[in-house]
Symmetry: none
Subunit: 207 residues, 4 copies
DNA sequence: AATGAATGAGCCTTCATTCAT
DNA sequence: GATGAATGAAGGCTCATTCAT
């Protein structure tokens, strides 16, 4: 995120940005293991070797840490997805890309993925606003990419709020079960599985 | 709920069962509005007009209330689903029944459905054991009903852990969004939507 | 305590007195293992297979149980000691009897002995009065037995409040350590030890 | 208690030690008056003008306070006793010193002495380990001081576990009664009494 | 005499947050 | 920017006791 100090890894004193990133990483480990409500400031402190004061200095309060982590995660996911979608061109490729990216990203960012699935984060009004904006931007980009395929007749015309469930619902559900079955390392999702869900998604939305 | 004096010994004083049920109902209202972690014993108390002591007398602790509620909810859902599935005979009818029942049950039991979606309940080992057993029983019954259809070639042969995501994933995702868009009143899910998801499910698993 | 029902041991329904005795025995087990403050009514209930209501019916409240147990223990000890002292006649025999009886009784009634050593029982005014009276009676009997020996010159004339510490202090201390070193079964105090303390006591108070 | 700025790093902020000491003093006052189990955190709070949080910050929990107080008391007693014993040389002087120091220390630290006699403190495993170590160290030092006197024939050779009861048992018992007869003000133990118990102790263990 | 559901005061403890250094 | 002692509101839970059956 900054180009200061090329030796990012072992610098004796971290940059502010790096410090914040490492705090978020530690917090994620806590949230993943203890749950969000189950994690205390003190837990994060121990995990990050950071003083209470510093935590508050950087993020305002506990909620701030949870929000920042969530937002960064969403953005990372969205950015990746959009980049991936832009690389393909046909409707089929794009629909399948959604599924494949979902699998790949989740497997590569297990703890973060689990975190983004949390349904009990209490966001501040401000965070909610930021998220809404980020989501709108994302949704617009995605729909823009697909609108043509619908208009051209390659894809079925369906109620807008059914596309996501139809295309992503199955992988999401599969993935959720897969994630809760393993908390540590582990392989990725097999090529066959990915294609199975990709095919299913396409089968449902193609004309 | 049963005639008085049927068997004096093993019938919990008539009122006891009713009391417990009403506590669970009140707790659900709290959990739904405040979140599980956000609900305090005192909230439940006010909602149920019950003393702290009684709450603990009946359920051991807050966790116990949450567990019992969850288990009862799951059982109610499972029982309904099995009953519904047994009424249909063809593969197509059954697959579609899964989707339709999911929609109907969810619409009829909104708060409970939302609660069953919670991903942050801390179960005791004992509760986990009970749930595991309940789940196994359910899964066995369901798979038994569908096995024949797969063997007869009406349905595709797929990895066992993909059927649920493929069939239920979309409705679940749709339903989840639908549930969070409204916390109180609300119609049911429209016939068209239900059929859209039912058709999609069938399209994916039929041969 | 009552002569009702000669078959005290295995009668299908206990007499009231027997019931109370068995409650006290159960309570003692609890107090011994959990401490007095650490023991709850519920613990006693489980240990005695008695309902809460019955406990209160028989003893009024928790304090009542602790008091009754204490008083009965003291009386049993005192009675035994007096009986023993009356059997001997010389000053030396009597002083040594005190020590020997202390050892024997303690070894035979370990849990009760430990209980009587408790220094944190909260007695009601009424219980304190009963205890005071019992103690006075006991002390009077004991002093009466020894007064002559002092007057006759067999024993030293010392401040009244030093006889007990001088004679019983060592065994008491030894015994206390011995008791806390073993909570279950175990042998009794060896003959040699007993005589060692008996001799020491006599050595100190003889003229 | 020490000069400022001697070693900035490992000196707990000057105040910290003082704060902890004053908390222990306040706790002792409570324990002495209300009993250990009878004392609530809130009592200690009022007595020490300390917030709940601070209490827990410094001692972990109520048990921690009780333990620390006990350990500090024991150490103070042991240190004093050893110092005193080292000042005398003959067997007789030493045995009598034990008794005299016991009396003096108890009279000078009444509340603390009463507290050390408590038989209902629930120690954590960690505290028990510390106490065991402290006790061993003490016992070793004491026995080392007396071994020569036994070998030289000035003192009787007795089972190791009888020396303490024989020498200290009587004063302990006397002292215990003396302590419970007065909770506030009060003189010290009279010179005659002290010598009576000192003589008795020597009479019993001398050859 | 027995039973056990109900009660609620009161206790211990946690934890987010502040702030002086 | 960093540190950690201090704060106190708030929460979960225990437990002696009562009382209708």
């Amino acid at each position: 995120m900054s180009n200061k100090n090329e030796q990012q890894k072992r610098a004796p004193r971290e940059t502010t940005a790096a410090r914040q990133a490492s705090i978020l990483a530690g917090a994620l480990r806590c949230f993943d293991e203890l749950g969000i409500d189950g994690t205390t400031i003190s837990d994060i402190q121990k995990e990050t070797k950071c003083s209470v004061g510093s935590l508050y200095h950087h993020f305002g309060n506990k909620e701030g840490i949870a929000e920042e982590l969530f937002i960064e995660g969403i953005q990372q996911f969205n950015t990746g997805m959009i980049r991936k979608l832009k690389r393909s061109t046909t409707a089929e490729e794009r629909v399948k890309s959604v599924v494949r990216f979902y699998c790949d990203w989740t497997a590569r960012n297990r703890a973060l993925a689990r975190y983004l699935h949390s349904r009990n984060i209490e966001f501040s009004e401000e965070a909610r606003a930021r998220l809404r904006q980020i989501h709108e931007l994302y949704i617009n980009q995605v729909f823009q990419l697909f609108t043509d395929h619908v208009l051209s007749g390659e894809m079925r015309a369906l109620p807008l709020d059914t596309y996501v469930p139809l295309i992503s619902g199955p992988v999401q559900e599969f993935t959720r079960r897969w994630l809760s079955g393993q908390s540590g390392s582990g392989s990725s999702i097999s090529r066959e599985m990915k294609e199975l869900f990709a095919d299913a998604a396409w089968k449902v939305v193609k004309t």
